[in-house]
Symmetry: C2
Subunit: 495 residues, 2 copies
């Protein structure tokens, strides 16, 4: 895989002087076109061997193009803020929006590689991480990101030559210490592991380009031309829509029975019991939030449900028992322009709690498989792949000690009508009912199908859905609180 | 994920009697359309819980449709023939061709699941196998296979009811033994692991359908309708060609240096040395093939190279030293009609050696990224994804104790001309030179680029390419033999 990169590639100074201005102009033009079209972002990953010119090339790219429209991010060891979130959080934060370039200096491959080379991480664990990288990159390219991955390589001989040259010069001697020679001594192993990683993560949509790093002119021209070719090619492409994928028939199609219709929506639950239980569960929740080991956990709750099912009321019963400094409520409406310029899950990643905190989502990432699906706001292919992207997302939260609790609040069609009318008749509730609510109501069956599909595909052993019978608000609120308390208690019990 | 399947779905006998004939007719019609269009094969995977009606449903499908055009294969524990090949070999053998249905009763998921549930296979190992399944299924769907995956489920309560019913009837009591109850006792764990597997391998192109198995009428209608809908939907679809993916610029584009041009093709090597060395290496190869531990290995060699580079001669120097019972030569030409009806790699899987044997491929699976790419016989998207498919394929061979040795025999353009002319002038060699050879020669540069890309992307730490300087036939043949001997010796040394 490094066969070509091990050759002594070279571009003379003269030739470089002739070629550089042309390349530079062409890159600038491409950057302008990209910014005007705003159809997709370009993300350049820069990885590889120490001393192979990664930093120099990143600087050069910023010099060649307009740096105001390039977001360059260097990733070292995660800082405390980053460590308090799932590992991929910091990459999500740094993604460039449509129309812009992003350069990641070091990226999600680095840690995987370093762990395997220097920390003797097991082969299976390495493979598991590779699979996660594959899924993440596929999600990015499916979302339209143009992903250009450059691997800067030096042969062992070239590495040695470089270190010796640095050592023999008084001005650069300080740059070579035991650490550098330690890296050098591990270079066979490093190359072997990187080769595996590169092979496994080179796909048709996002192949790695191996950049021989010994000759500065050569590596600069190669990187620049690679980026230019990929960006222009994509700009020239007509937008291709994915072939439509139809959902397969669901159980409801055969006998009319489904998880929603199987619910006993009208639960009997009187006010006196409610008040007693409310005090009990709110008290337990408050205690939990102040538990000494709670600082090692985060909690994410998701509220979805029919319009007027009582999501707001249920959420208030949770927040009443929490210290305002320790939770955040996030209401999800239509995405902003900034959010539309990013991959779908971006706007949820940005709201993730750090450890010791609650985040309560009033509507959520499930919008894609509910309203966006039913209203045709995204293509079938988009919402079909969203199920596994969401499952991946939640799995990352959970493996980062986050408790994920998801509620679907269900009311009957009749109860909804009663509540809509009540809202219209009550002056201080009129704002809560809009034409859109009445329009959604007409698509009751389509929403029901979407909800059943969602539960079928995303109610997992690690993040199950809780279906809440909500015709009786008292019953619903207590079920919500109790479920949350039990989920956190179980997680704390695991240590 | 099993939420809906845990409900008590039911279809009455009357309703089934009304619906079955309609469904049956529609399925038969779809089968005929599929057979006429011959555009894609349909592969139905049947998996799930014991006693959930898998066998009955497979029988029913064979009864409903024309069984002559359905290949049904049940996979149990691998037999000795199968065990002697990489694990996926038996599934490749059983793939249906375009225009046909295949039903796999048990499939590549089963072993992964069983190992994790009953053999306490580690979580990472489980994840690694899931990633391999994801890649394999993606390859199948990329190759056009319509993959329909049905998971037959029973809730724990339903399983218990079934076992008790069988036990209480004298005629069926024998069907319930300690094994059955052992399975039942593991069912929580079984469900948890299957849920994980289903979640991870449910993709937009090939989602799992959960079939509640308790009611025979319900499960039959659901399965039948699912298959009908998927097949008809695909038949109605216009063939969508994948968006073109352009290869990124390669090193040769920048400074003209590449792994082929860097070769010193004219090696000096006299006949006397050749004959001495030939005897030596052929002798060693012969000894190796009779080594007592060789029966645990298989060897696959791949010969690619310029036209007239001497592949045939080099191959003969290998086969001369082997017992004819222990090797097979496979010359790869244009695919047959049968082969074109299958995924690309199918025709190579069928020729894989069992342990203790050599298979020598004269041209190979690399045709896709060489001749098919250069001549435009496949789309860019097809050959771009072929690199990783090939790497996956070879990784499977190697993990099944196969030594993979790949040669590119390189001659100069001048040497080729000399050999072409010699062939035309020599009566017994004239058959070896055709108009096609002259045509290929005109695309020398395009082939060179394709070869460099191939080496860059598929010369891996586990299956490296050996580039053979072949202007001097003596030198080339000895290098080929020596490389093979050393590769086998190294593998034997590892034990």
């Amino acid at each position: 895989m490094f066969d070509s990169a091990n050759l002594d590639h070279h571009i003379s100074k003269d030739r470089f002087r002739r070629e550089e201005p042309k390349l530079r102009t062409a890159l600038l033009e491409a950057q302008v076109r990209l910014g005007q079209a705003k159809r997709f972002p370009v993300l350049i990953l820069v990885g590889g061997v120490e001393g192979a010119g990664k930093g120099e090339t990143v600087n050069l790219l910023n010099e060649w193009m307009d740096p105001r429209y390039i977001q360059t991010t260097a990733f070292g060891l995660p800082n405390e803020e980053e460590d308090s979130r799932p590992a991929m959080w910091r990459y999500w934060q740094a993604l460039p929006p449509k129309g812009r370039f992003g350069i990641f200096f070091g990226g999600w491959h680095t840690q995987t590689l370093v762990d395997r080379v220097f920390k003797a991480e097991s082969k299976s664990r390495f493979e598991t991480e590779i699979a996660a990288i594959q899924r993440f990159e596929r999600m990015l390219t499916d979302e339209g990101v143009l992903l250009i991955k450059c691997w800067f390589h030096l042969s062992k001989r070239q590495q040695k030559k470089r270190l010796e040259a640095l050592e023999s010069d008084k001005k650069t001697r300080w740059r070579v210490g035991t650490e550098e020679w330690r890296y050098f001594n591990a270079s066979d192993r490093f190359n072997q592991v990187s080769e595996h990683l590169i092979r496994a993560t080179s796909t048709g949509e996002a192949p790695w380009v191996i950049v021989p790093g010994a000759d500065p002119n050569y590596r600069a021209l190669l990187t620049g031309r690679t980026i230019l070719a990929r960006v222009n090619e994509r700009l020239d492409q007509k937008a291709v829509s994915a072939p439509a994928v139809k959902p397969t028939p669901r159980p409801a199609d055969v006998d009319g029975l489904n998880v929603i219709r199987a619910l006993e929506l009208d639960q009997v639950y009187d006010k006196a019991t409610y008040e007693k239980e409310l005090e009990k569960w709110q008290g337990r929740l408050n205690l939990l939030s102040r538990h000494k080991r709670f600082k090692n956990l985060a909690v994410v709750t998701v509220f979805e449900g029919n319009d007027a099912a009582g999501k707001g009321g249920a959420i208030r019963r949770i927040t009443q028992s929490l210290d305002a400094r320790f939770y955040r409520g996030v209401a999800i409406a239509a995405p902003t322009e900034e959010e539309r310029a990013q991959p779908y899950l971006w706007r949820f990643w940005r709201h993730l709690p750090r450890k010791g905190r609650f985040t309560i989502f009033d509507r959520s990432w499930y919008g894609r498989v509910l309203v966006e699906r039913v209203e045709g706001f995204c293509s079938e292919a988009d919402w079909m792949r969203a199920y596994s992207e969401i499952n991946d997302f939640e799995a990352q939260l959970i493996s980062h000690d986050t408790v994920v609790v998801k509620y679907w609040l269900a009311i009957s069609k009749e109860e909804q009508l009663r509540r809509f009318k009540l809202r219209e008749a009550t002056s201080f509730k009129q704002w809560k009912i809009t034409d859109e609510d009445w329009r959604n109501r007409k698509k009751w069956e389509a929403y029901e199908t979407a909800v059943c599909d969602m539960v079928e595909r995303t109610s997992t052993e690690i993040a199950p859905w809780t279906l809440v019978e909500a015709n009786n608000k008292y019953f619903a609120r207590i079920k919500v609180l109790k479920t949350l308390v039990k989920a956190v208690e179980e997680r704390l019990a695991k240590g």
